[in-house]
Symmetry: C2
Subunit: 106 residues, 2 copies
DNA sequence: ACTGGTATTCAGTATTACTAACTACTTTAA
DNA sequence: TTAAAGTAGTTAGTAATACTGAATACCAGT
């Protein structure tokens, strides 16, 4: 699916929060998970701007660990504020999603 | 629902296209329809920037008509390109929407 | 040595919704 | 007759977000 970037605004951060909530993970892996989901054109840079934002907004805990596959990884977990943000995200998604489907099906 | 503006990016234009596709309408009326849908915080200025963009991208026909309620109205209808854009929009919505719900329900 | 995969950072760009102010027409009330 | 409120459109500037593209760096295999 091409040119969905505008539609991803506001939802991509929610996806990242969701992936982190499922267990400690890091930027590069999150990128791959997003691609597997179907958002195939998402690149590392995009994900890192999101994780940096999560850091800045104090929604995540950070732990740097060495990797045997390359340079060290920055592992993220959600803190309490992050979990709240995630449920807030899904609430918003539910709301917008319902309204859009309502519009679509008259 | 508060602070959904980021999530509206990319979908608001689709809503406007959809409303226009249902019959000749104008900015002020579209704003009210969006509010009735549930996007209560959308203001006129936002909708006008969208209709101006639709004009610029040659997706609509324009007809100015006098109103007995106030200043003249700019009525829009979709042209062929506009209809294509609308089906493209719903395709993209369907795609993103499905992926998000897939993520949500594991 | 070189390539490719893994992993992060960052400056700059494009797009979009929003803010806030201005103009202007009509009706109704003070 | 003036003021306010509803209707209707335009525009300059702002904030937020995803994307681009380049740079750095670690490691494995050829």
């Amino acid at each position: 699916m091409e040119n969905i970037t505008e539609m991803l605004k506001g939802v991509l951060e929610g996806c990242v929060l969701e992936f982190i909530s499922r267990g400690e993970t890091y930027g590069y892996e999150i990128t791959q998970q997003l691609r597997e989901l179907g958002f195939t054109d998402v690149v590392e840079g995009t994900v890192y701007t999101i994780t940096m934002r999560l850091e800045k907004n104090n929604l995540v805990n950070i732990e740097k660990k060495p990797s045997n596959m390359g340079p060290p990884r920055k592992f993220y977990t959600l803190n309490e504020a992050g979990r709240e943000q995630l449920t807030l995200f899904w609430d918003k998604w539910e709301f917008v999603s319902n309204k859009m489907n309502e519009l679509k099906s008259n």
